[in-house]
Symmetry: C2
Subunit: 237 residues, 2 copies
């Protein structure tokens, strides 16, 4: 076997077995499962499941106590480290994948919302810049939109507080933004601070997002429809 906790071809079957075991973990890192049940979980026979458990014990990823012919399985520190390592690696991979958007025409609803005084006055303080009164529309492919959603889930939004307009009696709800950095794909070194307007509330096709920034981005980056921009999220938590 290779380095401690490393997953290699000799043991990725075992890694997968550990992963399935962990899905059934209960209080105190304990799992109650027979080799027959474990076999069903893995889509494998009782015999192979039993062998897997012994492999995992040998790897020191789990411990077992047999009481009255039934086994209690406990995750060890090494075992939980293996799971943590994979989790961290996946997190890194997903975070390192650069998200790309394609410039689309139109300013859509974003421009309207940005201009409303009750919102606009909060931008300087909360985003760190006074945005251009319009948004840039970026289309993301389905790979990118999924990754973006997951990244946004793990990010704290900038909340632009809602308010009541006493003249029109209209109520304006909270607006959510996410800090980001934008650059041209053909010149990734020239970056600019920007913000993504919350994608949940827009009426768009679901794979279009709206970007806020201080300058008019089409001029700033000399953009035409179809140009590609890199969207980096600040993962500075």
């Amino acid at each position: 076997m290779s380095k401690e906790g490393e997953i290699s071809p000799e043991n990725y079957a075992n890694w997968f077995a550990l992963y399935q075991l962990c899905k059934h973990i209960e209080h105190r890192q304990t799992i109650n499962i027979s080799s027959v049940e474990f076999g069903k979980l893995l889509n494998l026979s009782q015999q192979t499941a039993s062998r897997r458990i012994n492999d995992l014990i040998e790897l020191k990823w789990i411990k077992r106590k047999i009481e009255n012919k039934t086994q209690k399985i406990v995750l060890t520190k090494e075992g939980s480290d293996v799971m943590l390592l994979m989790y961290k690696n996946l997190k890194n991979i997903l975070e390192s994948i650069v998200i790309l958007g394609t410039v689309q025409n139109g300013m859509k609803e974003g421009a309207y919302y940005v201009s409303i005084k009750g919102y606009f006055d909060q931008f300087q303080e909360k985003l760190g810049f006074l945005p251009y009164k319009g948004t840039l529309n970026l289309e993301l492919n389905s790979t990118n939109i999924n990754l973006l959603r997951e990244k946004l889930n793990n990010l704290k939004p900038v909340v632009i507080a809602g308010f009541q307009d006493n003249n029109s009696e209209r109520t304006y709800g909270d607006v959510y933004c996410y800090d980001c950095i934008i650059s041209r794909i053909d010149n990734p070194e020239e970056k600019i601070n920007a913000a993504i307007l919350d994608i949940k509330r827009t009426h768009h096709k679901k794979n279009i997002i709206e970007i806020l920034a201080e300058p008019y981005l089409r001029d700033y980056f000399n953009l035409k429809d179809g140009d590609k921009l890199i969207i980096e999220l600040n993962i500075n938590r």
Copy 2:
């Protein structure tokens, strides 16, 4: 093959191959790698690596363009979904593993810090309760301390702002806390809001954490040294 994106024994070798490929991803979800290099990455022969790539293409997890006998590999939406799914499952697993601590004697430095007026006055507002002027020490085993660290990494701390004491000319730094919920392991239904004092700054053995709560927890839970408590973190982001 089973459900879309599901990893089963027929394809966890392929899943692992995809995972290794993703570690080498570059701009625009593209990977440049030969079958020889990929074989080395997987600790497998060039022939098997080549077959894996074809398997991944058949699974629609990647696409490939061959130019001048060299291949460019691009992750598909399905491929990134597979990675995202595993990431989310691991996240769930790690979050669902309950962290246990064992009651230890002593109040240590925590008690001193809690009592300092400059800090104490902030607790009501920031933690939602005025803590007992002492901390409960919990010892965590190495599995639990690792999991806790990872969970805290993904949590927003409650910052108790530092201040300057004009009498003693001493400067008191920021103190970090994390909201949590405590219960006896033998009665997990009776819960109480509490906070973990930042574990990084204490001079403790590294597997001891300090808990703040409104009541004197030893009385509240009728605790003696060695009793076990469940520590739940608020993952309500």
